[in-house]
């Protein structure tokens, strides 16, 4: 999967991203890319800069330095609207769902099907429900009833609704921040299956996780950050779990197989 994806232009490519908050250099010269039909895991210990990177990509903070390429074209991302207009969706840990609205209401929140257009348009509930059911079925999300309030769903179902919402529009790249952090075993499996289905549909998926088991289960490539710098990007099949932990904690400073530094790519004896 990853080699096939490598040959195409990345959906989103970042080069030389730096960000400073007062005396803290949060990110230094970070590069990152994601291809269509690929799951990239973004890993790193606390304070590595994962959240800052995500917030820069979703336009919450502008980067101090660096360039963005979207499907090979240079673009600027300075506001959340820039990011969503390109087709980048982010599912944060707090999910941002309205507990009092039903599943259909949440899936279409802020982009309800209505006639005429505009805030006073009358919503077409039948159309929205039909489309919601179709999307959930396509992604094999199991929800007992799309007309019950979100509050009555399980954690995994809520996460699935949040992820499904991120692909309701024309989004091509989806960032998932710790999607399995609060979930049980079966629910985690459900959400990871959903991530794989997004990949099959050709989305670029970026998953931020502390859970190494999840990372190895779904990721094609793994990008490791440490103290605001990128340690390296590795093929998930060619890197071991201990090695990854070593890279995250600084016990290892580099590893054979770093795609960005092919010159060093000689395995240690």
């Amino acid at each position: 999967m990853s080699t096939a994806a490598q040959e195409r232009t990345p959906l989103l490519e970042l080069r030389g991203i730096s960000k400073r908050f007062g005396a803290v250099q949060a990110l230094t010269d970070v590069a990152f890319d994601v291809h269509p039909g690929e799951v990239v895991a973004l890993v790193g210990d606390n304070g590595a800069g994962k959240s800052t990177l995500i917030k820069i990509i979703s336009g919450i903070y502008p980067a101090d330095e660096g360039t963005f390429l979207w499907e090979g074209r240079p673009v600027t991302i300075r506001t959340p609207n820039d990011s969503t207009a390109l087709g980048i969706a982010t599912v944060y840990q707090d999910l941002a769902l309205c507990d009092n609205l039903d599943v259909v209401g949440n899936l279409f929140l802020g982009r309800e099907t209505a006639r005429p257009r505009g805030p006073l348009g009358v919503m077409d509930e039948v159309e929205m429900e039909t489309r919601a059911v179709a999307v959930l079925r396509r992604l094999s999300v199991k929800i007992p009833n799309v007309r019950i309030p979100i509050a009555s769903l399980s954690g995994g179902q809520r996460q699935s609704v949040a992820v499904a919402r991120s692909v309701m529009g024309e989004n091509k790249v989806v960032f998932l921040d710790e999607p399995t952090a609060a979930l049980g075993v079966a629910q985690t499996k459900e959400v990871l299956a959903l991530v794989k289905r997004l990949r099959e549909e050709g989305h670029g998926v970026v998953i931020i996780s502390h859970n190494m088991v999840d990372v190895f289960e779904v990721a094609d490539r793994i990008c490791v950050l440490r103290l605001g710098r990128r340690v390296g990007t590795y093929d998930a099949k060619k890197v071991g779990r201990e090695q990854l932990v070593g890279l995250m904690t600084g016990a290892l400073t580099g590893l054979a197989g770093d795609e960005d530094r092919p010159a060093q790519a000689e395995p240690a004896p």
């Binding site: 006073l120 348009g121 019950i148 509050a151």
Partner: protein, 412 residues
């Protein structure tokens, strides 16, 4: 609607038809999802008690007409309060703004000798301006609405006294054969065929909505409520409405202010349930941050809702002035604000935002006004009336809280 391919054994499978619907309703009741049931039960109990203690006067046609006249004013204010509560905000100025706008209307109508429509427009615009000011202040400076409207409660009271001037009371002109006067809002009655025609219009609206939805959902292959249920519900509402119109018609008839109030409820309910703007209000009340991230202009919606609430308060105040045929220094004070909030809450609107409906304001105002009216019939002392009203409000909110607690544990 089930989107499961393989069935999850924990999910109770929905049976089709009436039996399945009833089973589902029973299950929801057991889990505490009681909807309007406690209010309806409470209302029946209140009517029974007052009907007996007043020796049949309470539900007599004369008193029912009075009740409808009393309802429309505070009910209109209460619709605005529902909108505010849906956002999870509070507006303590709902009462005093109704008085202020009525005073402006009276000054324009009587002191400045302008025609009634101009005066009513002036009162309405005063409400709009007050709402715009408060909404701006709350959203621009991020001050809790409780504090801003608490300041407003005092400030607008001062303005009300200032507007009324040293005399303190303005009497509105009585009915005039040639032109419309403000007191006609509560002095106009529809009788006979006209009254039943209005009732038929209302019933057509009540029946048509669910039937159209039923057809559209059926055509799209979505789950539907059994048609029998839709018909039975419409039938029950129909019998009640026709009985009420029959009673009202045997006295003075159906009042214009009541018709305006019901029309307002139908219109506002449509906006809340069917338009994107309404969905935005519920979304902000449910999770303002989620709404913001979904691209909803949260602060603008908040401001608009404060404008709507104050404008509705203005209408309520002017209806009240029309009924009392005067505006004085105590207009919109005392129990007006508390009754408007109580009506919204008794009808099942949550104080924490995101839950409730405009129909709740209707049911709530019927309950609150029935209690107040019934106690007047029994000529109770104000001291006793205040204590009973407080007790009823506390009981209603407690029933709601206890039932919702049951709901939380069953995850609904």
């Amino acid at each position: 609607m089930s989107s499961t391919q393989e069935h999850d054994p924990r999910v109770i499978r929905e049976q089709g038809g009436m039996a399945g619907f009833l089973a589902d309703y029973r299950r929801r009741l057991a889990q505490g999802d009681v909807g309007q049931l406690p209010v309806v039960v409470g209302l029946i109990a209140i009517c029974a008690i007052f009907q007996i203690t007043s020796k049949g006067v309470f539900l007599g046609s004369f008193n029912l007409v009075n009740l409808t006249l009393q309802m429309a004013a505070v009910g209109t204010i209460s619709v605005g309060v529902v909108l505010i509560l849906l956002l999870g905000e509070i507006d303590l100025t709902a009462g005093i703004v109704s008085g202020l706008c009525a005073a402006v209307m009276a000054v324009v109508n009587v002191n400045m000798d302008m025609p009634a429509p101009v005066a009513l427009l002036a009162g309405t615009l005063t409400g709009t301006a007050v709402g715009l000011f408060q909404g701006f202040w709350i959203t621009r400076f991020g001050i809790p609405s409780f504090v801003v409207t608490l300041a407003g409660l005092i400030g607008w009271q001062g303005l009300l006294l200032y507007v009324l001037g040293p005399k303190g009371t303005i009497n509105l002109p009585g009915h005039h054969p040639d032109h419309f006067v403000v007191t006609d809002l509560c002095g106009t009655f529809f009788q006979g065929a006209l009254a039943y025609g209005l009732a038929a219009l209302f019933l057509a609206y009540v029946a048509l909505g669910p039937l159209l939805t039923y057809r559209k959902r059926k055509a799209a292959g979505l789950s539907v409520q059994p048609i029998a249920f839709v018909l039975i519900r419409t039938g029950i509402v129909g019998v009640l409405v026709l009985a009420a119109v029959f009673e009202l018609d045997s006295d003075r008839g159906v009042n214009l202010s009541l018709v305006l109030f019901i029309a307002l409820i139908i219109g506002m309910d449509y906006v809340l349930r069917r338009t994107r703007f309404g969905r935005m209000i519920y979304a902000i009340g449910g999770n303002a941050e989620a709404a913001r991230r979904a691209g909803i202009p949260v602060q603008r919606v908040r401001t608009i809702v404060f404008v709507l609430a104050s404008t509705l308060a203005a209408w309520g105040g002017m209806l009240s002035a029309s009924r009392l045929q005067a505006v004085n220094q105590s207009a919109g004070q005392g129990s007006v604000l508390l009754n408007a909030i109580a009506a919204a809450v008794v009808g099942g609107t949550s104080l924490f935002g995101g839950r409730g409906s405009v129909w709740a304001a209707l049911l709530g105002i019927i309950v609150i006004q029935s209690i107040s009216n019934g106690m007047d019939l029994l000529s109770l002392q104000p001291s006793i009336k205040f204590m009973i009203t407080g007790g009823v409000l506390l009981t209603a909110v407690t029933i709601d809280a206890v039932l919702r607690r049951g709901q939380r544990t069953s995850g609904r």
